[in-house]
Symmetry: C3
Subunit: 318 residues, 3 copies
Amino acid sequence: MTTATWTSQGHLLGLETLSSAQLRSIVGDAEAFLPIVHGTMPDASLLEGRVVANLFLENSTRTRVSFSVAAHRLGAEVVDLLGSSASTSKGESLVDTASNIAAMGVDGIVIRCAASGGAELLAQHVNVPVINAGDGRHEHPTQGLLDLMTLLQHFGGELAGRSIAIVGDIASSRVARSNLWSLTALGADVVLVGPPTLVPAEFASVVPEEAGRGAVSISHDLDAVLESVDAVMMLRIQFERHDGDGIPDDYRERFGLDVERAGRMADGVPVLHPGPINRGLELAPEVADGPRSLILRQVTNGVAVRMAVLAGLLASDG
Amino acid sequence: MTTATWTSQGHLLGLETLSSAQLRSIVGDAEAFLPIVHGTMPDASLLEGRVVANLFLENSTRTRVSFSVAAHRLGAEVVDLLGSSASTSKGESLVDTASNIAAMGVDGIVIRCAASGGAELLAQHVNVPVINAGDGRHEHPTQGLLDLMTLLQHFGGELAGRSIAIVGDIASSRVARSNLWSLTALGADVVLVGPPTLVPAEFASVVPEEAGRGAVSISHDLDAVLESVDAVMMLRIQFERHDGDGIPDDYRERFGLDVERAGRMADGVPVLHPGPINRGLELAPEVADGPRSLILRQVTNGVAVRMAVLAGLLASDG
Amino acid sequence: MTTATWTSQGHLLGLETLSSAQLRSIVGDAEAFLPIVHGTMPDASLLEGRVVANLFLENSTRTRVSFSVAAHRLGAEVVDLLGSSASTSKGESLVDTASNIAAMGVDGIVIRCAASGGAELLAQHVNVPVINAGDGRHEHPTQGLLDLMTLLQHFGGELAGRSIAIVGDIASSRVARSNLWSLTALGADVVLVGPPTLVPAEFASVVPEEAGRGAVSISHDLDAVLESVDAVMMLRIQFERHDGDGIPDDYRERFGLDVERAGRMADGVPVLHPGPINRGLELAPEVADGPRSLILRQVTNGVAVRMAVLAGLLASDG
C-alpha cells in the first residue's frame, strides 16, 4: 500500500490497489463536489477546454450519463463512442480503437467493456488517463467508490467493525469485486450472500488478511444474516449474462429482499442497489422506494465521485 | 385559466391548461430569441453551466436536435438518452429512469415517449422541470407553440376569427391535439379534416365553449373546405402507428394536398407541416417547396420556442 | 485554379478544385492548431457559441469523433444525427434533412453519406457551410488533407518529384480519389497499385496533365514498385462494399504489406493507412505498429486539419 496520492498511478483501473487513505481522499473530494451536483454551488470550471471520450463497448446508459454530467459540471466536453458501432470488444481492436482516440488528443478515456482487464490493457497502450467504468467481471471502481461514499455518509465517516451484506450474483459482479476491496480496506466485514452457484467458496479468500482490513465470509442463507448486518447491498440479477444459468428457480423466494424480509431488519439498516433494479425480483418496489433505501443517494453520489476522479486525473496532468 | 406566468407550473406538459396570455408570453420570448437562431445576435448564456437531459424513448431526430441546438444556443450542455437503450417505455421503468436522471442533478428533462400522459407521470416523480416533447397521442406542446408562433407571424399577431384546417390522422396526432388547444385559445376556428376513421366525431367537443375561444368543426371533404380556410396544416401520415389500419386506399386522392388543390386555395393562404413530410403522399413536393410553404420557418421558430421554454423553466428555477 | 482563398467557396466538397497554394494554406493552418491537439497550448475559442451538426448517414465513428474533438477544441458545440435514424440516404430525403438542420440555425454541416456527390447536392440547397466527410466513391477531402499534411511533415514541406504508391481498392476509394488530386497538385507522382478489378485503367487519366502537377500511373504488381517509391499508402479493403466481389482470393499474398515486403522497402520510406486497419490482411500488425508507420500521426493531424477547415469556414462567415 502506497502513501502516494492515488492520482500518481495516472489511471483508475480498480480499487484493489488503493489504500484506505487513498479511498478516503477520493470520497473527500467527491463530498466537496456534492453541492455542485445539488445545484447549490456554481459549476466548477476545473476541466474547461478538456475533452473526455466515453468508450462504451457495452451499453450502460446510466453510468455513461453519470460520467457525462460529471464532466459537464466541471466544464469539460464529452464525445461518445458507443456499442458495436465503436469497435468490437476483441482485445486487439480495443487497443486500436483506444490508440486512435488517444492520438486525437482527448484528455481522458472512460472505458466500459466486456473483457475483464480491458481497462488495464488500454492503460498500457495509451498516454492519457484511463478510467474503468466496468470491465467484464473484474472491477467497476467508480461504483465501488460511490457505494463507499454512501455508506460513509450513513455511518458518520467510519466503517470499521461494520458488517455489510452483498447479496446476489457475486461471481459475475464487478460491483461486488470493487466493493470487496474498498469496504474491507476501510475495516468493514463483508458477507457475500447467494446460492452456491453464484457465490463460489474461493471468494472468501480473495482479500488478504491484513491489519485494519475487514474480513470476508460467505453465506448461502439470506435469512440467517439479515438480522445481524449493518447494511444490505442488493445486486442486480443479470439474466443477460447467464441465460438464467446458475440462477435457481426459487431465487426470489430465497434471496429477494421483499417487504416481509425488510421488516425483520434492524431499525436504520440501509438498503443499497447499483441499479437498474429488477423490481419485484431481487428487490421489492416498496423497499426500493421506502425509508431504508439509499438508492437515489447512490446515484447522486455517483456524479460527485466521477467529478472527483475526472478532476483528480485530468486536472492534475495539465 | 390562471393569470400567473406559465412557468409557475414548473413544467411544460401540454397546452390544454395555458391561457392565451400565457401562450402569447412564450411566443413573445421566442420572438426575442429568433435573432440568436438566425445568427444575427450573439448567443445568450442564460443557461451556462446547466445540463439538459434528452430522454427520447421514441426516436425523433428532428425534435431532439432542435432541443439540443436551443440548449446549446443558451450555453447549456446536453446529454442524450435514446431509444430502447435508455429504458423500456413501461410506466414503472420510465419513472425509474427519470428518477435516476433527476438524482444525477440534471437541470431539466426533455421527454419523448410512447405513453400518453408519460410526461405528467414523470413530473409527479421528479423534482426538476419536465418538458413534454411528445407523449403518445396526448400532446406535443412545443410543436403547438411553434405552429402558433408561425401563424401569428403570418397573420400579424392576431388569429381571432381565422379558420385553420388541420388535415390528416387527427385521432393519432398529438400535434393536432396541442394545436386544438392553442389555436382555439387565441380565438381561431379549427376545422379537422380527414376520413371518419381518422377524425372521430368526438373531436368536435374536446374543446369547451368559452368566450374568446374559437370553435372546432369536422369535415370529411377536403375540397369542401379548402377554398374557405385561412391556413392549412397538413399532418404526417404515420404508417408506423397504423400498419395502414384506418388509412383509406384512396387517401392521397381525397386528402393529399397536390398542385391542383393548392391552386384552388385563395392567394396568400399558407401551408404548414410538422415534418418529416411523406412527399407526394399527404403533400406534393411542389407545394412543400413552393411560395405557400411556411415549413422551414416552422423549423426555425421551433428552435426559438424551445429556447423560450428552456429559458423559462430552467433559468427561473436557479 | 483560382488564387482566391479556399474559403471563398463557402464549403469543402472535395480537393479536385483546390490549388497547391490553397492546399498548403489549409495545412499551414492545421500546423498552427497542432499544439492545441497535443495539449501544449490552451484551447482556442474561435468558434465559441457555434453549433456544428454531424450528419453521418453512414457510420464512421473515427471521422465523426475527430470532427467532434476538433469542434470542441475550438469552443464549438456538436449535435449528432447518425445513421438510419437520421434519414434515408435517398437524394431527396437527404436534402430535406439537411434543409431542416440548416433551418435550425446550425453554423455548419459535416456530411457523410453513401451517395457520390451528396455533399455538393447539400451545398446547393442549404445556406450554411457544408463539409464533406466522405460521399460515396467521390471524395473524402479532410482525409486527403491529413494525408497531405503527414507527408509534407515527413518530406520537409516538399512533395515535388516524390513517388507515392496508393495500394488497394482504388475504384471504391474516396480516399484515393482525394489523394490523387492533392498529391499531384503538390507535384508528387502517384502510382495506383492493385489488381485490375480494383484499379481500372481509366484512373490513369483522371488527373489532367498540367505544369507543376505530378503524374499518375497504374501498376498491378506491388513488388515491382515497392523498392522505388518514396511512400506507401495502404487502403482498407472494404468487404462491406463488395461482398468480396472483385477482391482476388490471393489478395493478401499479392497486395498485403507484410513484414517481408516491408523489409525490402528503402530505409525511411513511410507507411500510411486511413484506418481502421484489417490487421494481417492489407497490413501486418508489425508494420502498422513499426517504425515506418505514420498511422497515429495521421490521426493526430486529422484533428488539426478539421480544426483548420472548421475555423476557415465557420469563423470567417461570422
